[in-house]
């Protein structure tokens, strides 16, 4: 199919769940109510690293209104094994240990015990009555610190894996891996210009507005029913079943509406605890995190320590690139450093590359995915160095990127060879945008550019479509809808069926009611669940053609469907007319789609940022911002733009303000939305968008996931803009006023 042939794909219908969300009727996890509901509260560690000598819950249990208290000892003892947490495997003991600490606490905010009571206030009071005897241990808070000989060790059983082999060495480095390609030394020997820089980035949080929540009922028939806000109902089901040592079929998870996730609502924190409390009380138990709990007890994204070295010839070709990426995993291994390593030089065609990645545990919350996890840190480093090289060579920064841009056939250092990609098209769109050549209009102003990549994922999705007698269809799917995916999925079914998007009624259902569907993450939902809907719609079309053939007494193969009209010879019937005749022609029509698609297409993104730096205070103002991204084919352009704008602004916050301020004792000192400073409407200009469409050959409509790549370039682009405005190359995130002033002053010295 060619773009111009689409009737639904590429249009901008009103989202199906929209009215409920603008009237307050949509039910999010914390809105769930049930007769007999009890309220839970979690007691969290005040120390960043401590041995738990003793927990005494007796006083808490005696408080009137308290119905149950649980600790890690209430989990069933099960043999160690690897479990899939929705984005990669982890040892069961780590997954369980993060939900309720056993033996040791590894970060301030680590959950220790939980109370269920008749009100949330009583539960909170009771948690304060739990007595915990700690032996406080020294803590390590950054990757370089944790990697030193003699550093405090978080896990006595964690042995470093090096280049895929177990070393037997106990340390905070869970893994050291390397991607290598070509001959790095020969590559640098060819270089006529070389830049090597070191970078540090702070821990930041996804910052979703809705805190984590979960309600669980351990029912009298032994089934465990869960209602929660999650990116993956099936991963909640699987992890909950695993920690409680019951078969997955015993757990049913109903995904409520979700108030933001960005990767942070993939891990499971509360559901197994609520289930344990429910088992003890026989009542449903709801737990909702406070904002402080969200900062201290959920999964932010890694801080990092990085070095990047790039060499190029005078003609502007990069000859070699090397990166050292040490990411802070937080309390348990899994810092998303591999994705960072996959993306660090992914936008460039470079023959000689070495990338070393280190996954380092530290006494901070166990990190989770955050929109293109790992890639934003790495791109900040790489794009800063690329900019400096282009400057040294006297080449326009976009021309330099164009000269070295990855294209079809380029091999990445981690192995894959690109199919058709839109890197060049994105850079060209940046160059052609009027923003790139517009006057800056004042002193202390600068313009910076950067590009970035996210590979996107496929993974399984399921969908069914049933046809109603009035010619509409009901679409049932399992992907929780964080940003309009009900509509982008329904539109793909509508396109196949030749009916308006409004005639498809999408519903996100519980884990009993649809086939397995992986998390809403990795920019996969419109791509993969959309593909499942495409398949289910094709199945409906096949069955409907048979019905038409039956009525017309002809062969199904002779029936065609064109824009909602079935035809064979001179006979015609609309989708609606045929839908009304299903009862007489054999009964209901239900289509099914279950996919695990391979053809995922990566997305490139770029941005142009204009800033003004106040030389007296170091405050950076974003004057103008343009985001460009390859969407393959934008199914619903408004929501593609929305992803680009949202990702850009998260990138701006990461670049300029956001940071976990940790004191020496490992306590976050800014765990509120006042002090953890996310961008407000007042901090920003409009965010211009340019959607580039280089169709993904691996998707029926050419779609590429668009959720993530847009957050990757902003910090690099803003750093490059700050350089042009204030003459300082920033080597840390956030680039807040103190950091900028320090850089300006040290340059004057």
């Amino acid at each position: 199919m060619k773009t111009q042939e689409y009737t639904v794909v590429g249009t901008r219908p009103i989202r199906h769940d929209g009215v409920d969300k603008v009237t307050g009727r949509a039910l999010y996890g914390a809105d769930f109510q049930m007769a007999g509901l009890l309220y839970g509260h979690i007691l969290r560690s005040p120390h960043a690293h401590a041995r738990i000598r003793r927990i005494d819950t007796s006083k808490a249990e005696q408080l009137p209104g308290v119905k149950a208290v649980v600790t890690a000892g209430d989990f069933p003892e099960v043999p160690e094994r690897m479990v899939d947490l929705g984005e990669g495997d982890t040892p069961l003991s780590y997954a369980r240990g993060n939900v309720l600490a056993k033996g040791k606490v590894l970060y301030k905010g680590h959950a220790i015990a939980a109370v269920a009571a008749t009100s949330v206030h009583v539960a909170e009071e009771a948690a304060g009555l739990i007595e915990v005897d700690y032996e406080v241990l020294p803590c390590v808070l950054t990757a370089p610190e944790a990697m030193q000989d003699g550093a405090a060790i978080l896990h006595d059983d964690l042995k470093t894996k090096e280049f895929g082999e177990q070393t037997g060495r106990v340390s905070n480095v869970a893994e050291h891996f390397r991607y290598a390609m070509g001959d790095i030394e020969a590559g640098f020997a060819q270089a006529e210009v070389m830049v090597e820089r070191e970078f540090n980035t702070a821990t930041v949080h996804q910052g979703y507005i809705e805190p984590h929540n979960a309600t669980a009922l351990w029912n009298n028939d032994g089934r465990i029913l869960v209602w929660c806000s999650t990116q993956g109902s099936f991963s909640v089901r699987d992890v909950t079943a695993c920690l409680l040592d019951v078969p997955v079929s015993r757990v049913r998870v109903t995904p409520m509406e979700i108030g933001g996730g960005f990767g942070g609502k993939i891990p499971v924190y509360l559901e197994p605890v609520a289930a344990l409390l429910s088992k003890k009380t026989g009542k449903p138990v709801k737990i909702v995190m406070s904002r402080k709990d969200v900062f201290e007890g959920s999964g932010p994204t890694p801080g990092s320590h990085m070095k990047v070295k790039i060499g190029a010839r005078k003609d502007g070709r990069i000859t070699a690139a090397q990166a050292y990426l040490a990411y802070e995993a937080g309390a348990y291994p899994g810092a998303m450093v591999a994705p960072g390593a996959m993306c660090v030089f992914a936008a460039y065609d470079i023959a000689n590359v070495v990338i070393d990645g280190f996954d380092v545990v530290v006494n901070k919350p166990s990190t989770a995915a955050y929109r293109a996890p790992g890639a934003t840190n790495a791109a900040f480093a790489a794009e800063s160095v690329v900019d400096e090289i282009a400057e040294k060579l006297g080449i326009d920064p976009l021309d330099f990127r164009l000269k070295n841009a990855a294209k079809e056939g380029t091999r990445r250092a981690d192995g894959p060879k690109y199919r058709r990609i839109g890197c060049v098209e994105v850079i060209e769109a940046m160059k052609n945008h009027p923003h790139y050549t517009a006057p800056l209009g004042g002193p202390h102003r600068g313009r910076g550019v950067a590009i970035g990549f996210w590979f996107n994922v496929g993974l399984p999705s399921s969908c069914t479509i049933s046809v109603s007698a009035d010619g509409t269809v009901n679409l049932v799917e399992g992907s929780t809808d964080i940003g309009g995916t009900r509509t982008s999925i329904a539109m793909q079914a509508a396109e196949v069926l030749g009916i308006p998007a409004e005639d498809v009624h999408p519903t996100v259902v519980d884990t009993d009611s649809v086939g397995f569907t992986a998390v809403t993450g990795g920019s996969r939902t419109t791509f993969a669940t959309g593909w499942a809907a495409y398949e289910a719609a094709q199945d409906v079309v096949r069955q409907m053609k048979e019905r038409a053939a039956k009525i017309w007494e002809t062969e199904a193969a002779s029936v065609a469907l064109d824009r909602g009209v079935f035809q064979s010879g001179d006979k015609r019937m609309t989708f609606q007319e045929l839908a009304a005749k299903l009862d007489q022609t054999g009964g209901p029509v239900v289509g099914r789609g279950a996919v695990n698609p391979r053809g995922v297409g990566g997305s490139f993104s770029g941005c142009i940022a204009d800033v003004e730096v106040d030389p007296e205070t170091g405050k950076v103002t974003i004057l103008r911002f343009t985001s460009v991204q390859d969407a393959g084919k934008a199914i619903h352009p408004s929501y593609v733009e929305g992803q680009m704008q949202g990702g850009s602004v998260q990138g701006i916050g990461w670049a300029l303000n956001e940071e976990y301020f940790m004191n020496d004792a490992g306590s976050m000192t800014n765990s509120s939305l006042l002090d953890y400073r996310m961008p407000t409407a007042l901090d920003l200009p409009m965010i211009d968008t340019v959607i580039v469409e280089v169709p993904n050959p691996g998707h029926p409509f050419g779609a590429r996931g668009v959720g993530e790549a847009n957050i990757v370039p902003p910090p690099g682009a803003i750093a490059n803009a700050i350089y042009r405005a204030a003459g300082v190359r920033m080597n840390r995130l956030p680039m807040n006023p103190p950091a900028i002033m320090q850089a300006i002053w040290s340059q004057r010295d």
């Binding site: 969300k21 999010y28 507005i209 408004s638 949202g646 407000t680 409009m686 965010i687």
Partner: protein, 161 residues
């Protein structure tokens, strides 16, 4: 210890009476006692704006108001913004402009924006940004929200013209 207090208010135009503990916030009373869960909790310390409601036409974060303070007040929540079966122009323009993604901040934004348009029917972009700086949105980058408020203002002025 937790003697409950009787509170008489008007919520979304209807007289409403409830019993609450003195320590319960208006947000808790709305959500847990009255079932008005359209008002959301994002931070419980007045910094995110998800729980924004109108109290005698003043914009407040209901997490920072005690339930007992609502005595004798007129409260407007997101559930009271639509006019019967017809959406408020702001609700329509939020939908038409795709001004929400996850939707958790949307009730707070719509309530706050309504208060703005009630007193300033033709706000500039800067005025909208300043007024809405109390409400955090993490999904949209605000661009489409600002446009939606502007569009609603224009449509309301056309209707009133």
């Amino acid at each position: 210890m937790h003697t409950k207090v009787r509170v008489q208010t008007t919520i979304n135009g209807e007289p409403q009476e409830f019993l609450c503990e003195p320590r319960q916030s208006l947000l808790e009373c709305l959500r847990d006692l009255l079932g008005l869960t359209g008002t959301k909790e994002g931070c419980n310390d007045g910094n995110c704006g998800a729980c924004t409601v109108l109290m005698d036409d003043r914009v407040v974060t209901s997490c920072l108001v005690l339930g007992v303070e609502a005595q004798g007040c007129q409260i407007t929540t997101i559930e009271g913004i639509a006019r019967g079966s017809e959406l408020h122009p702001l609700q329509r323009s939020f939908l038409e402009n795709a001004a929400l993604q996850c939707g958790i901040c949307t009730p707070g934004f719509i309530v706050a924006a309504k208060a703005l348009l009630d007193q300033q029917p033709n706000p500039s972009e800067d005025e909208i940004r300043l007024w809405l700086a109390n409400n955090l949105c993490r999904c949209t980058g605000y661009d489409k929200i600002i446009r939606a408020v502007k569009q609603a203002a224009e449509q309301m002025q056309e209707v009133n013209a």
